[in-house]
Symmetry: C2
Subunit: 429 residues, 2 copies
């Protein structure tokens, strides 16, 4: 007999059906046993007599294969229940699990959660994290496709780093050494020369020695790059619209839960203010007495700026533009002639979730910028050559998927939004 | 002035607009110069007088920024042309390019093509390869989402190989050695325990020392895994429907070109026959006199089976099922008790593009299978533990994106369908 998805069972009142799934709840009364079965489409209540299940020893998280008859039941939320006819335990869960799919996962340590990842995902609260993440991924790609971006797939095994070579993981590549890509930056710029507008969703790697709640050695980067821009504002406008569309969809599908977990629905990002870096320094000084920041923000500064934005605009997010050029990668386009860069960060709910900007687009400017940083243009010849092919003015951005997921749901550690996090101490499971 | 996309220019007859893009064609007559400009939405013809462009030295693949007036032109295919008002070369292409975007790329060696990837992609024939690839990616994900699969993101840095440890790339991971994942096999099985149905689209890595036209050291794998199957036939049925939907879309969007390049439109995969491995041996013996194959097919055998299928069914594709179990990974489910495996390959137009099958789903069976292969279950404890959490019967498959793209378009080398291919000799660009 072919299985019926739980979500279709209600269409089959009076009929005998086969259901397969996990035991999600189990309640045994004197005369009746209630089993809530879960599959990838939802949950359904099955009603049995104690005699029917006595010999089976059914327990939570067992894999079961059930035949039953669908009965209309006005008192049930779904409007029906299943009267059990036959149940088989296809594969029992262990008796020694540290938690189960009905547990309050906030009471379980993150290490235990990660060591039993699939079981944690069977809980509503963790499953939702990864459903939100999958929705972000889908939303990112679909918005960009609609806006004429082409998806590209670029290599993660590279001959050298994009920014000069620190924090790179080495690979033994046959007779030579290669590296794991820190960013698809060069490839997506090449992609602009090819397609004008490109995006890539893929892992990037940083040999980040510090295990903080914000850093992973392997994270998933939502990258885009676009040609023929008039300035970084074009990229920021695109991101406002992109995130607003994603957030609108998330509010629709997960809004109540997002509000409960993070304190509020997701904001309209088209209303996010843009502040110059110098203006941010002023604001931080005025509101928080800070005078210690020089060429970048720190985590506290990011939180404080979002606090100010929340107070002034009712929206805890800020685009910061015009970072000091000397602290930015060589390919960064200057903003005016006072040492500022056409680089921006997007801060959201107190955390940087995007870095973006306009890039240099002529070989001459890139060579000069390399030399100014004490680097040899010859070492970048493979990259520079692409600027001979007809490279338009361009810019782009990268969003950290785990960070964005975490900020959407108000998680405190980026690991909670990573199925299998990697840091200095963890390469398993 | 804001740029107008080429595809919108026709809506602005009589108006002045700004267009940005690349010079795709350039033809100078005595009294008129024709410039075909290309952006990410298409091409448009611009008409100028020789005087207007004399001082510019416009050439193919230059990046240009143009103001012009749109004029209805019934003789043009698009129904309009642009009368040039002003042109600026934003960034000139080099005078020393080995080919340009109008070249016949089949006359350019693959090494030169790869060294100038963006320029090659500006040619119609190469651009189409990656448009087809992006469509396959989109089609794979959208079909699976509709069918209740959840997208997952799993780590590519792993502590050991999924199949015992050959052909792994080593990573220097702080104080220890880690490896690049050869497959998300274990993670997607864990994903079944979590979500029931999962997919992942990501790179996988094989330290493949041989540089053949079919192999890469880094390729992009379209992976799926599904729970509660009754056998591998459920997975094959899903793949038939999945590929048929993708192929239908490709025939619609790229059909004429696919037919021209590969000899035919893409077939209806719901009609693909399934042959037992033993039956394949019989057919190869009968049709081609082959008696040399033992526990697997070889490239020639794959071509020959597709030839037979083409003759008998008018469809050059075959599912081969029931490979000898001893040549398959330890987690493979047996098919009956005569030493066959619930493993299948999908051959398409002469090449294996998918491997899939049903997996063992109990800890006891997995431990026994490991021992039978001389491996120690203790070394797989992190994986085996997931089978204590309630693992349903399950199976899945992996499609090589570059191979599928290549077979769809009739390409002869998988590198042509890889933006930045990696093999023993190539880690750049």
């Amino acid at each position: 007999m072919k299985r019926t998805f739980v979500e279709r069972a209600g269409d089959m009142i009076g009929k005998e059906i086969r259901l397969v799934g996990w035991v999600f709840r189990y309640r045994a009364l004197a005369k009746t046993v209630f089993i809530v079965l879960r599959d990838c489409t939802g949950t359904v209540q099955i009603v049995a007599s104690p005699e029917q299940v006595a010999s089976l020893g059914i327990k939570l998280d067992d894999v079961v294969d059930i035949r039953g008859r669908v009965r209309a039941e006005p008192r049930s939320k779904s409007g029906f229940e299943i009267d059990l006819m036959e149940a088989i335990i296809t594969n029992a869960s262990s008796h020694d699990l540290p938690f189960n799919s009905s547990s309050d996962i906030s009471q379980v340590g993150i290490e235990v959660v990660l060591d039993h990842r699939p079981l944690s995902i069977r809980t509503d609260s963790v499953q939702e994290i990864f459903q939100v993440q999958a929705s972000i991924l889908e939303g990112f790609r679909s918005y960009l496709r609609k806006n004429r971006f082409t998806e590209i797939v670029t290599s993660k095994i590279v001959a050298s780093g994009t920014e000069g070579g620190t924090n790179l993981f080495q690979i033994k590549y046959f007779e030579r050494t290669a590296y794991l890509a820190q960013s698809p930056q060069f490839y997506k710029e090449h992609g602009v020369a090819a397609f004008e507008r490109v995006f890539e969703t893929a892992h990037v790697y940083r040999a980040e020695p510090h295990a903080t709640s914000r850093h992973l050695t392997e994270y998933y980067s939502l990258d885009l790059e676009m040609g023929f821009i008039d300035g970084p504002e074009d990229v920021m406008t695109l991101e406002r619209n992109l995130l607003s569309e994603i957030f609108e969809d998330l509010n629709k599908r997960f809004g109540d839960s997002i509000k409960k977990r993070s304190g509020d629905f997701l904001p309209d990002m088209t209303k996010t203010p843009t502040w110059e870096f110098a203006e941010c320094m002023e604001r931080l000084k005025k509101s928080f007495g800070r005078t210690d920041l020089v060429d970048d923000l720190d985590p506290q500064g990011e939180r404080q700026l979002c606090e100010i934005a929340q107070k002034e605009f009712g929206n805890p997010s800020v685009f910061v533009i015009g970072f000091p050029l000397n602290a930015r990668p060589f390919y960064t386009h200057p903003r005016g002639d006072k040492g500022a860069a056409q680089s921006f960060d997007l801060l959201f709910r107190g955390l940087e979730i995007t870095t973006g900007g306009q890039r240099l687009h002529t070989r001459a400017a890139l060579e000069q910028a390399l030399r100014a940083k004490g680097m040899d243009p010859k070492a970048f010849e493979g990259h520079l050559r692409m600027f001979d092919l007809g490279m338009p003015p361009h810019g782009g951005l990268a969003i950290g998927l785990e960070r964005l997921t975490g900020q959407v749901l108000g998680l405190t550690n980026v690991r909670e939004a990573t199925m299998y996090p990697r840091d200095r101490n963890r390469v398993e499971p």
